[in-house]
C-alpha cells in the first residue's frame, strides 16, 4: 500500500512540476510568468521524480511487473493532475507538494523490506 501511494504521489508530483514549468500554466496558477531559472528547475525536478518513480517500481517488482506498475500509475497521475487543476488549483498544488514530500520521507526513513 505504501509503495503504491508513493508511486502515485511521485508521479503526480512530477506531472505537477512539468506542467508548472510551462509558462502558460504557470501564469494560470500564479498570474505571472515564471523566471527562466524557475522554469528550468521545475522541469528538472519533474523529470528526476519520474525517473525516481521508475527506479523504485523496477527495484520493487522487477522489470516486467515494475514497468507496468510505473506506466499505469504514471498515466493515472497525469489524468488526476489535469482534472484537478482547473477546479481546485490550490489543492492540486498542495497535494503534489505534500504527497511528494510524504513519499520521499517514507522511502528514506521507512524503507520497505522488498525495496532495499
Amino acid at each position: 500500500m505504501t509503495m503504491w501511494l508513493s508511486l502515485l504521489a511521485l508521479n503526480y508530483l512530477s506531472w505537477a512540476c512539468l506542467c508548472l514549468a510551462v509558462a502558460r500554466h504557470y501564469r494560470q496558477h500564479f498570474g505571472v510568468d515564471p523566471s527562466p531559472v524557475r522554469s528550468r528547475v521545475l522541469r528538472i525536478i519533474g523529470w528526476l521524480t519520474t525517473l525516481l518513480a521508475y527506479a523504485i517500481s523496477v527495484r520493487w517488482r522487477d522489470w516486467d511487473i515494475g514497468s507496468v506498475d510505473w506506466c499505469a500509475s504514471w498515466m493515472l497521475a497525469a489524468i488526476a493532475w489535469v482534472l484537478l487543476q482547473p477546479y481546485r488549483p490550490r489543492f492540486a498544488r498542495w497535494l503534489a507538494f505534500v504527497g511528494g514530500a510524504a513519499s520521499l520521507f517514507a522511502l528514506i526513513f521507512y524503507p520497505s523490506p522488498t525495496l532495499f
Binding site: D64, I65, P89
Partner: protein, 525 residues
C-alpha cells in the same frame, strides 16, 4: 477532396472511429468490469460466503464433475485462490454444451449456477455472439488502432495542450478537451490494450500459417505451440485414480507457489495423467511450469519442458492484456484506465454530435444523425444500467430456478433493450441521458441495501465485520459509482454554466482569443 495528409487522417479518424465507437464502448465497459471477474463471480455466489475454514477437497469436486460429464476425456479443475474460494470445474463432451461450474471447495457440491462476472469477460471478447463475435471484436480492435494513430496525427497540439482541460466554456470545447485528455494521457494504455487484444486472438484472425504448416489442424498447432505432449492411450480402464488432493499438495510444494489448474487427461484409460500448471502470478507472462503426475499411482513423473520462446512472447503479450499478475492493486489501475477509455469513447460520440449541432437540428430524428444520437444514448447510458441490473437479477431470481444463469443474461439484455427504447422515445422531448444515468445511480445506491435484504450474511456491514474485503469492496464500489452516475445525471439536467468560478484559473483575455483561433484541434472533414 481531402487536400492534405492531415485532412485525410481527420476523415479516417472521424469515420473509422464513429462506426465502431458503440461496439468499442461495449467491449471497453465489459473489459473494465472483467478486471474483477473472479471477484464478481464470488459476489454472485452467496453459497460461498459462509464457508468454514479448511482444506479444499479436489477429489470430491472431481467426482461431481465426472458425474456431470461421464463421457468427457479431459477434466480441468481450478483450485481455490485468494480471489475466488470455489473450485471451478471445466469439461467438454463431444456434441454437448461446454461445462463450466463452480463447486463447493469443502464437499464438492454444485453451487447454484449464475453467469457470474464471467459474463462481462465473454461479452468483452466475443459480445456473447460466438465465433462471429470474435471477428467483430477483432475488427473493432483493429479500427481502434487506426483511430488511435490517426488521432495522434490530427491532434495538432499534442504537446502544447498536453495539460489543458477547460471544463467551463461548455459545449464542444469541453467535450473535445475531455476526449483529448483521456485519449492522449491514456494513450500508452489504449495502444497496448488494442494491440494485445488483437494479438490474443491472432490465430483466429490470421489463419494462413495454421492452414499451411498444420493443414488446418488447430489441435496439433496448439500442441506444438505450448510444447506439451499427450499420453498414448492403452485401451484398458485404469486400476484406480490417484488422490488429487495429495497431488495438489505436492505440486504446491514443488512449485513454491499456487497451482492454476489441475488437468486430468484420459480419465477412462490406464494412461490417465494428471498435470499441475503453475499460476505464475509473479510474472507478466504467467505460469510456465507444468508438473506431470501418474494418474493411477499419484507419483511425480517430471516437469514438462517450458514453452518455446515464441509462445512465451505470446504469453507475455496476452498476460499484459489479461492482468492476472501482480495482485489487486494493478487490477485497480487497469480498471481505472479502462474507465478512462470508456470516457474517451463516450466523449468522442458527443463531440461528433456537438460538431454538427445545426445539421442535427435541421435533419430531425428520422435521419442518420438521429440514429447516431439514439445509439449514443442506448449504448453509453443503457449499458451501465443493464450491467447493474445483472447484479440485481442475480440476487432477486430464486436460487432453485432451473435455467437461472440464462435468465440473468436475458434480464441484462431485456433491461438494455428497454433502456434504449426509453432513451429513443425521450430524445424528442425530455432528457434521456438524465433519466438513464439517474436510474443507474439509484440502482447502484440501492444495491448494498438490496444485498442486505436478500442475503443478510453477505451485506456490506456483515462483510466488513468479517473482514471480507472482496465482498465489501463490490458494495462500496457500487456506492462510489452511484455518486459518479448521480453527478452525471445532475450535469445532464442543469443548463450549461458559462460563468467562471475561480477567477485565478480564468486565462487572460489574449490567450482566450489565441486558443479560440486554434479551436478545431480535430478538423471537421
Amino acid at each position: 477532396m481531402r487536400n492534405t495528409f492531415r485532412q485525410s487522417m481527420a476523415w479516417l479518424h472521424t469515420w473509422a472511429g464513429l462506426i465502431v465507437s458503440w461496439v468499442l464502448f461495449a467491449i471497453f465497459l465489459g473489459g473494465t468490469l472483467a478486471c474483477f471477474d473472479k471477484e464478481l463471480d464470488y459476489w454472485m455466489r452467496p453459497a460461498l460466503h459462509q464457508l468454514k475454514p479448511g482444506p479444499p477437497s479436489m477429489d470430491a469436486a472431481a467426482k461431481t464433475l465426472r458425474g456431470m460429464a461421464p463421457n468427457a476425456e479431459t477434466l480441468y479443475l481450478r483450485p481455490p485462490s485468494d480471489r475466488d474460494p470455489s473450485i471451478r470445474g471445466f469439461a467438454f463432451e463431444p456434441g454437448k454444451p461446454y461445462i463450466d461450474v463452480a463447486l463447493n471447495p469443502r464437499d464438492g457440491a454444485l453451487i447454484p449456477p449464475t453467469v457470474g462476472g464471467n459474463f462481462f469477460f465473454v461479452l468483452h471478447y466475443n459480445l456473447q455472439a460466438g465465433t462471429l463475435g470474435i471477428y467483430l471484436v477483432g475488427l473493432a480492435g483493429m479500427l481502434m488502432l487506426l483511430a488511435l494513430i490517426s488521432g495522434v496525427i490530427i491532434h495538432r497540439r499534442v504537446f502544447k495542450d498536453f495539460f489543458v482541460f477547460r471544463p467551463r466554456p461548455g459545449g464542444q470545447r469541453a467535450w473535445l478537451d475531455g476526449h483529448n485528455l483521456t485519449g492522449v494521457l491514456g494513450l500508452p494504455f489504449h495502444l497496448m490494450i488494442a494491440y494485445t487484444g488483437v494479438i490474443i486472438m491472432m490465430s483466429s484472425y490470421m489463419t494462413a500459417g495454421v492452414q499451411i504448416g498444420y493443414r488446418g489442424d488447430m489441435a496439433r498447432y496448439y500442441e506444438a505451440l505450448s510444447g506439451t505432449s499427450h499420453p498414448v492411450e492403452q485401451h484398458r480402464p485404469p486400476r484406480r485414480v490417484a488422490s488429487l488432493d495429495k497431488i495438489l499438495g505436492d505440486a504446491v510444494q514443488r512449485l513454491g507457489g499456487a497451482v492454476e489448474y489441475l488437468e486430468i487427461e484420459h480419465i477412462h484409460d490406464a494412461s490417465i495423467t494428471i498435470s499441475a500448471l503453475s499460476a505464475g502470478n509473479d510474472e507478466v507472462a504467467g505460469g510456465r511450469r507444468n508438473l506431470i503426475y501418474d494418474g493411477t499411482e499419484g507419483s511425480f513423473r517430471g516437469e514438462s519442458e517450458g514453452p518455446p520462446t515464441a509462445y512465451r512472447t505470446y504469453q507475455f503479450l496476452s498476460g499484459l492484456h489479461r492482468v492476472q499478475f501482480g495482485g489487486a492493486a494493478i487490477r485497480w489501475l487497469y480498471f481505472l484506465l479502462g474507465a478512462t477509455g470508456c470516457v474517451m469513447l463516450a466523449t468522442a460520440a458527443q463531440v461528433w454530435i456537438e460538431k454538427r449541432t445545426r445539421q442535427v437540428e435541421a435533419a430531425g430524428l428520422r435521419s442518420g444523425y438521429g440514429l447516431v444520437r439514439a445509439l449514443n444514448v442506448g449504448v453509453i447510458a443503457g449499458m451501465p444500467l443493464a450491467s447493474v441490473s445483472l447484479l440485481w437479477a442475480n440476487r432477486l431470481l430464486p436460487y432453485e430456478l432451473a435455467g437461472r444463469a440464462g435468465m440473468e443474461a436475458q434480464s441484462f439484455c431485456a433491461i438494455w433493450l428497454l433502456a434504449t427504447i426509453w432513451g429513443v422515445l425521450r430524445l424528442r422531448h425530455g432528457k434521456p441521458w438524465r433519466d438513464l444515468f439517474g436510474t443507474t445511480a439509484a440502482l447502484l445506491f440501492a444495491l448494498p441495501l438490496m444485498n442486505a435484504l436478500t442475503q443478510p450474511h453477505s451485506s456490506l456491514l456483515a462483510s466488513i465485520a468479517a473482514r471480507d474485503w472482496v465482498l465489501a469492496g463490490i458494495d462500496a464500489t457500487a456506492l462510489a459509482f452511484g455518486l459518479g452516475f448521480a453527478w452525471l445525471a445532475w450535469t445532464s439536467t442543469r443548463p450549461r454554466q458559462l460563468a467562471s468560478r475561480d477567477p485565478r484559473m480564468a486565462p487572460p483575455r489574449s490567450s482566450v482569443a489565441r486558443s479560440e483561433a486554434a479551436l478545431p484541434a480535430v478538423e471537421t472533414p
